[in-house]
Structures are given as structure tokens and as C-alpha cells.
């Protein structure tokens, strides 16, 4: 396997005169790539592993529990959660922002990195886009159920109604409705568009009529015509161009939910870019957390190489440092402002009742990612998995710190209170993971995890020397 070894070197090389190979394996051809990726889908049909059944059973039961909680919530009211004066925005918004943040990685990888001509994105973009959509589903759940009277949730949309009332377009919460639903729609379309050629590949490899028929419908009769590819590529470029500002706008609008208010700790102008950086940060960490086990279970190490993971880690380091910059600026300006309320809020965050949440956030989001300055840690799979999980935890705590510490110490000291989540808070959050993993396992089972046609393009590029 000396040639395999050579390719390994070529993948990890640091010679500026040549670009490293993105796809490894000296025997990797178009056909073997199909075998490796579509083979997963086909292999599942022939012999679905027991582990998959166990996992989907677990996530389905958690999802069922979520359904039960939502039903109980509807008939009882949001009082089952710990939301209580003055913390009326408790875990539901924390979970919402957490999931929306994670949802930023996919479109970032497919759109922004596409525009920046980063070829390494092709190995992980499909996977990350799928994760995006599932995370948006989880995110959309929380504002939907926490409105209290769910059967009038359509009031959120500008639909003519019997009261002849219209939503207030000057409210950032309504902007959120538009931002998140636009983002969900565009992400879904983008993902589906990327899938069309690959679904056609599955269709053409299909050995049973049923599989052929189903994938034929979803691949819409794609034949790989160059005239079609021409428009397809143009459409892809346009969608990437549209999705890039969109992905920025979504978390920006989420940050507006907080920042247009007058509450110290919420009202600060750095929130929009800081939220976006944090969203990319958490999303990349989640992609890494999921893809590390997946690539070894399904033997995709030659497509999703260590180099890919290392680049992801560099992005995590960069965005983690941006988040650290934002934390620092908030503190500095709170001191600099001379405003006693601003100063109090930040002192209270670090040394008040919720100091444990604050320091969990800082260590997970700022300190641990700094380990990625070291090449050894950036390239060690177990180490990066640990750091990425820490980042996921830290980003949840970030939203908790922002939401709860500011609200629990509002302008009226008489109403100050300590927020306590109830069992339903924990279970709803856990339930959202059930939803996420159910969708995710279905994706792994039925759809190609790697953007085959794009990786083939990269393979052609690296083999032909272009």
C-alpha cells in the first residue's frame, strides 16, 4: 500500500507549490465513489444493520415523548415550563437560538465556501446541508409551541383573518418569522437541487423497480445533459449568492430579537455579527461532532479526510476567537460606557448568581477552541471530538447566559428572581434531539451523504491536473 501512503502524504502535505489532494485512495474512481456513497444507501436495503434499528428506535421514542409533551403543553399551557417572572424568555428561546445557530453551518459551507472557491467543501456540504435543515426543523418547533395558543399560530403570518388585523411588521419577532421561514425554504431548495443529480445516480444504479421508481420521481428525469448542467450551475451560483447574505441575515435577525430592546446585556450593537460568528462556530462544531463517527462507521475517510477536519477546526478556531472578541468588547464597552446598568449586568454575569453558566460558556467557547492553535490537537480525531462537543455545550450556555442572566436582574429589583427549569424544560430540549436524530438517521438511510457529482468534479480536477 505504498501508493496509498503517498496519497496520504499528498493530502497532508504543506508544500505551497502544489495543492494537496482532497480525495485520497489511489483506486478512487468515479465508479468506486458511487460504490462507496450510493453503496451505503443500497447496502442498507440489502442488510440494514441492527445498530441502525436500535438508534432509530431510540430517537423515535424520544420523538414520541416530545409529541406527548407538546400535547400536554397545548392542553395545559406554557406554565409547565420554568418561564416565570421576570424570566419570561426561558429555555424555549435558548433552544431556538441554539438550533438556529447550528443550522448555519450547512448553508455557509455550500454557499459561502462555494463563492470563495473552497473545493474541500464538496466532501461535507451535503451532510452539513442536511444537518442544517433538520436543525431548522428543531428550531422552528420552539417558537411555534411557546406561543401558548398554538391553534392561532397563523396570526404570525400576514394572512387575512376574521378580525381584520395584521401583524406588526415593525416587530423583530415578525422579522424572525420571515427570516427563519425563508431560510428553511431556501436551504431546503438548495439541498434538494444539489441532490437531483445524485438521486439520478441512485436511480440508474437501482436493481429493484421500486427503488428505481421512487428515485426516478425525485430526480425528475435528470440525464446529466450539458445544456441542463449549464443552467444548473448558473442556478447553483445564483442560489449561493442569495444564500450568503441570507445566512448572515438569519442570525442577525435573531440577534435583533434581543438587541433592539433596552435591556442591558441585550442591547449592544455588536450582537448581529457576534451572533453570526457564534452560529457558524456552533454549526461547524456540530458538523464535526456528527461527521467524525459517520466517516469511520461508513468508511468514508478517503473522502472526508483528516485535512477536511483540520480545515473545519481552523474555522472553529477563527469563529471561536471572534466570539471571544465579542465577549471582550461587551465587557470593555460596559466598563467604558460608564452606564451603571450596563456595568452591573456584566459584573453579575461573571460573578453573580449564574457565574457557573458564564464560566462554562467562556471556557467551552473561548478557551477550549484555543487548543486548535496546536497542530497536534487539530489533527487528533479524539481531541477534536472532545473540543467540538465542548463547543456545542458552550454555545447552548451562551444563549442561556444572554437570555436568563439579563432577564433575571431587570430594572425592578423587587422582581428579581432565580430561574429554575422544570422537568418539562429538560424533556422538551431532549425531545428536540429525538426529532433531529430521527430525521438524520432517515437521511443516512435513504439519501447520499456525499455530493457525488461534485466530488467527481474534484476527482477529475485533481487527476487531470487542472
Amino acid at each position: 500500500m505504498s501508493s496509498q501512503y503517498d496519497l496520504q502524504i499528498q493530502n497532508e502535505i504543506e508544500d505551497p507549490t502544489i495543492r494537496p489532494k482532497l480525495i485520497m485512495g489511489d483506486s478512487t474512481t468515479y465508479a468506486s465513489l458511487d460504490d462507496d456513497v450510493v453503496g451505503i444507501v443500497e447496502g442498507f436495503v440489502e442488510k440494514t444493520p441492527m445498530a441502525w434499528y436500535l438508534m432509530i428506535a431510540t430517537s423515535l421514542s424520544i420523538l414520541t415523548m416530545l409529541g406527548g409533551i407538546v400535547a400536554y403543553l397545548i392542553v395545559t399551557g406554557v406554565g409547565i415550563w420554568g418561564n416565570q417572572s421576570p424570566v419570561f424568555w426561558g429555555w424555549p428561546i435558548v433552544n431556538f437560538v441554539f438550533w438556529v445557530g447550528i443550522a448555519h453551518a450547512g448553508t455557509l459551507i455550500s454557499a459561502i465556501l462555494f463563492l470563495l472557491k473552497q473545493d474541500w467543501r464538496t466532501s461535507i456540504n451535503r451532510f452539513a446541508e442536511a444537518m442544517t435543515i433538520f436543525a431548522v426543523c428543531c428550531a422552528g418547533l420552539f417558537p411555534g409551541i411557546h406561543v401558548g395558543r398554538m391553534w392561532v399560530v397563523y396570526w404570525l403570518f400576514p394572512i387575512p383573518n376574521q378580525m381584520e388585523m395584521w401583524p406588526n411588521f415593525r416587530s423583530p419577532l415578525l422579522w424572525d418569522v420571515f427570516a427563519v421561514s425563508t431560510y428553511a425554504t431556501i436551504s431546503l431548495l438548495f439541498w434538494y437541487m444539489g441532490l437531483i443529480p445524485d438521486l439520478a445516480t441512485i436511480r440508474d444504479r437501482a436493481t429493484t423497480k421500486l427503488r428505481q421508481g421512487i428515485y426516478a420521481i425525485f430526480s425528475m428525469g435528470w440525464t446529466g445533459s450539458s445544456r441542463h448542467w449549464h443552467r444548473y450551475e448558473k442556478a447553483y451560483l445564483i442560489l449561493a449568492g442569495l444564500a450568503t447574505p441570507l445566512v448572515l441575515s438569519v442570525h442577525t435577525v435573531v440577534s435583533f430579537d434581543f438587541a433592539v430592546s433596552q435591556l442591558p446585556g441585550w442591547h449592544t450593537t455588536i450582537f448581529p455579527p457576534y451572533f453570526v460568528a457564534g452560529a457558524i462556530f456552533s454549526g461547524f462544531a456540530m458538523v464535526n461532532t456528527l461527521i467524525i463517527p459517520i466517516r469511520s462507521i461508513f468508511k468514508l475517510q478517503h473522502v472526508v479526510t483528516l485535512r477536511h477536519l483540520e480545515v473545519m477546526n481552523k474555522v472553529i478556531l477563527a469563529t471561536g476567537s471572534m466570539v471571544g472578541y465579542a465577549y471582550a468588547m461587551e465587557f470593555f464597552i460596559a466598563w467604558y460606557s460608564g452606564n451603571p446598568y450596563e456595568r452591573f449586568v456584566f459584573e453579575n454575569r461573571a460573578f453573580g448568581n449564574y457565574w457557573w453558566a458564564y464560566w462554562t460558556m467562556v471556557s467551552c467557547n473561548v478557551i477550549f477552541p484555543q487548543l486548535f492553535w496546536f497542530k497536534g490537537i487539530r489533527r487528533s480525531v479524539p481531541a477534536m471530538l472532545v473540543v467540538c462537543i465542548f463547543v456545542n455545550v458552550g454555545m447552548w450556555f451562551e444563549r442561556f447566559v444572554i437570555t436568563v442572566t439579563s432577564l433575571s436582574r431587570d430594572f425592578l429589583p423587587g422582581s428579581w428572581n432565580y430561574f429554575k427549569p422544570t422537568a418539562f424544560d429538560y424533556l422538551t430540549f431532549l425531545g428536540s434531539f429525538g426529532l433531529f436524530f430521527t430525521l438524520f438517521l432517515l437521511f443516512v438511510r435513504f439519501l447520499p451523504m456525499i455530493a457525488i457529482s461534485e466530488v467527481k468534479g474534484i476527482l477529475y480536477k485533481q487527476n487531470s491536473g487542472h
Binding site: L174, T223, K234, I238, Y460
Partner: protein, 417 residues
């Protein structure tokens, strides 16, 4: 490729290549051969093939641009019409419509319209979905989405000549050239599929119809209660008897000395124009003065008088007239109606400049404005306290003006009279 219309036994020719380079070279030859109805099929987009085939730039970006502009306009019109026209509602002092808060939704809808259009216009321009394609009848064509590169010439091409086309393709290094077999299957979907589609389309209207119907109808039945503990709360009503407290009342008595918000009229002379109790007792004891305050408790400055003039013009002048003679437009109209036998029982407004009124203390005038007198209604609810005093002061000015003599006019101005 459409159905066969010439006498050839096939629909066209399909050539297979091993590499993109071979395909590209072949495409250039076919392009130079002048063919119009032909295409190449590749598992991934091959760069440079557009030029090799002579594909012109797509109009897709222009369609998307149009859709984006439509999104912008829709968003702006929607926000302006709903929030500033149809349902104007003032929230936290923000303007009904401003570009600043309108920007996020405008941006989102622009992207939404443009993005959705991108995908569907791409599919539309590509004539997709097209589930039925004669090329699928060629077995080896399945590799077009896997690892082989194909070139297909349609026999409908005006230049198409079976032998010359075959010769052309054979000379391009194709690993295989094959005829696309004639396809005799039906070109229209089976009837049951159409029927099912129509039935499905019809069924989708039923829930929409029910929703619209229930909006437009009224019902005597009580509303459904989804959340019982929200609709039927365990709270006590005013006046209900409860065992909680000793006196059995649900409502607690306010702390002694509590005054309802906005009802602290600490100064009776200012708020009511009458002397406070203590002073009044003294005054009434020796019957030396009326219960009203003699002078308005606010300063008679120029701005106050101008304010009084303005308020007088709004609230008083319609009946009492601009100069207070009791000849406002309402009085004029009533007088003209009396002349024709209408407006029975009309009591003409008082001339407020007469000595009788002029001799009343300020407090009494204030009281008349506040609570009304005879036919005149009270204006206490409409006019603020300061404004009522300002009107009183202005009334004094009117009275002075009505009873003025030539001596009141400055020497320098007399020539103008």
C-alpha cells in the same frame, strides 16, 4: 427527442466516451458539423463543454432578477399597506412605516422570491421534470450519471443523415455508438392517473373551503375551549364571597388614605376654581366672599393668552362667537332656522362680554367651563386644567376689549381707527 416522424428505425444516435476530454473533442466536431439538435450527458459538469458545444448563456439570471424585484415590491407594499393603511397601530412611538424596520422583511422576501424562482426557473428552462425519456431505453445510458460521458444526436436534426452521422461519431474515438430505439409507448399519461390527479386537486379544496366557510359564518354555539385552565381560571370576582378573609369579601379594602391614580386634586382652587374647605368656612362664616377664587391661579402671560385664544376658538367660538358676543356660527344657523319656523326651544348662547359675566370671579367662569351651565355642557373632560384657566384669562381680555374706550388705544395707534 420527440417521437419519430421520419422513416428512420431509431430516434437518434448515442455515442459513449471514456473521458471528458474525448467527449469535448467529439463535441467540437459535432458542433462544427453544424448540428443543432444534439446534447452531451455527463455525470458531473465538465468545464469547457459549453464552449465546445456552443451553448449560449442562459437567461436564468434575468428571470431571477425580475423575481427578486417582485419580492422587494411585494414586501414594501405589504408592509406599507398593512401597517400604515389597513391597520395603522402605533407601537413604541415608531413611525407607521419607515425604511429602517421595513428593511429586514424586504430583504427576506426578495431572497425568498428570487431563490424559489431560481430552482423552478432552472427546472422549467430544462423542461424538467421529464420522467419519460427515450434515452432511458438504452441500457448503457445508465452510466451517464455514473462514470461515462455520452453524446446524443437527435434524428430530428435537419442535417441528420444516418450514415454520415454514424461516420462522424465513429471518427471521434467513441468507445461505442448505438442507436436510440424507437419508443412506442404512449406519450400521454394513463387515464387513471389524470383522474386521480383531478380527484386529488378537488379534495385539496375541501379543507380550504371549510376554513373560509367558518370565517364567513356566524354561530350561536359557545366557542371551543382548548385550554381549560386558561379559560376558566380559579380567580375570584369582585363582590364574591370567599372564605379566605375574615370579612368574607374577595376584594381587599385599599389602605387608608389611598387615592385612585389621577384623582389627587390636591388644590381645589386650581383644579375646581373654588376655595379650599378651610378658607371657604371662614368666608362663608362672615359672608364676605363667594366660594369661587377671585383670580386665576396661573400667570397671565402672552403665551398663556395665545393658548387661551386658540382653545377658545376651538371650543367656545362656535357658539359664543370669535369675540364672545354670542354670535357663533351655531347661533347664526339657529337664528336662521327660527326665521323659517325651525329650531324650537333654542336658547341663544350668552354674550360673555356683558358686565354680568365680567363681574363673576375667575373661579366661577372656570367652574362654568368645567361643569357647564344651563344649556351649555361641561368641558372638563375635553379641556385640560391649564387650558381652561387660559380660556378664562382670554375671556377677560375679550371683556376688556368689548368695553374698551378710545383711551385704551395707544396714542400712536389712534390714527388707524
Amino acid at each position: 427527442m420527440d417521437n419519430n416522424q421520419n422513416d428512420l428505425p431509431h430516434l437518434g444516435l448515442l455515442a459513449e466516451y471514456e473521458t471528458p476530454e474525448a467527449l469535448m473533442a467529439a463535441a467540437e466536431k459535432v458542433r462544427d458539423g453544424g448540428y443543432k439538435r444534439w446534447d452531451t450527458h455527463t455525470p458531473f459538469p465538465v468545464h469547457g463543454i459549453d464552449e465546445a458545444m456552443g451553448i449560449k448563456n442562459t437567461i436564468l439570471p434575468w428571470i431571477v432578477l425580475g423575481a427578486g424585484a417582485a419580492g422587494t415590491v411585494t414586501a414594501l407594499v405589504l408592509q406599507y399597506w398593512t401597517n400604515a393603511v389597513a391597520y395603522p397601530f402605533l407601537i413604541s412611538g415608531k413611525p407607521l412605516f419607515s425604511w429602517v424596520p421595513a428593511f429586514p422583511v424586504t430583504f427576506e422576501l426578495t431572497v425568498l422570491f428570487a431563490g424559489v424562482t431560481t430552482l423552478f426557473a432552472m427546472l422549467g428552462l430544462n423542461r424538467l421534470p421529464r420522467l419519460h425519456n427515450p434515452l432511458f431505453n438504452v441500457k448503457r445510458f445508465a452510466r451517464a450519471t455514473q462514470d461515462r460521458f455520452f453524446l446524443a444526436i437527435d434524428s430530428q436534426d435537419p442535417l441528420f443523415n444516418d450514415s454520415s452521422a454514424k461516420a462522424l461519431l465513429a471518427g471521434t474515438g467513441a468507445s461505442a455508438v448505438e442507436e436510440v430505439p424507437d419508443d412506442n409507448s404512449a406519450t400521454t399519461p394513463p387515464m387513471w392517473m389524470l383522474q386521480a390527479f383531478v380527484a386529488f386537486a378537488f379534495l385539496t379544496f375541501i379543507p380550504i373551503g371549510i376554513i373560509v366557510g367558518s370565517w364567513k359564518s356566524t354561530s350561536d354555539k359557545p366557542a371551543w375551549h382548548f385550554v381549560w385552565d386558561m379559560d376558566f381560571q380559579e380567580s375570584y370576582r369582585t363582590g364574591e364571597q370567599v372564605p379566605l378573609f375574615e370579612n368574607g369579601m374577595a376584594m381587599r379594602a385599599p389602605v387608608e388614605g389611598t387615592i385612585a391614580t389621577g384623582e389627587l386634586f390636591a388644590s381645589s382652587s386650581y383644579f375646581r376654581g373654588v376655595l379650599d374647605d378651610e378658607t371657604l368656612d371662614k368666608a362663608q362664616a362672615d359672608r364676605s366672599a363667594s366660594e369661587y377664587v377671585e383670580f386665576a391661579p396661573i400667570a397671565a402671560t402672552r403665551p398663556t393668552l395665545e393658548r387661551g385664544q386658540e382653545r377658545f376658538a376651538i371650543y367656545c367660538a362656535p357658539c359664543h362667537g370669535d369675540s364672545g358676543y354670542g354670535d357663533g356660527i351655531v347661533a347664526e344657523r339657529a337664528t336662521s332656522l327660527i326665521a323659517t319656523g325651525g329650531a324650537n326651544g333654542w336658547v341663544p348662547p350668552t354674550n360673555v362680554t356683558t358686565p354680568v359675566i365680567a363681574s363673576q370671579p375667575d373661579g366661577q367662569l372656570f367652574d362654568s367651563i368645567t361643569n357647564g351651565i344651563r344649556n351649555m355642557p361641561g368641558y372638563g373632560k375635553q379641556i385640560s386644567v391649564d387650558d381652561r384657566w387660559a380660556i378664562v384669562l382670554y375671556l377677560r381680555a375679550l371683556q376688556r376689549g368689548a368695553n374698551a374706550t378710545i383711551d385704551d388705544v395707544p396714542q400712536s395707534e389712534r390714527g388707524g381707527l
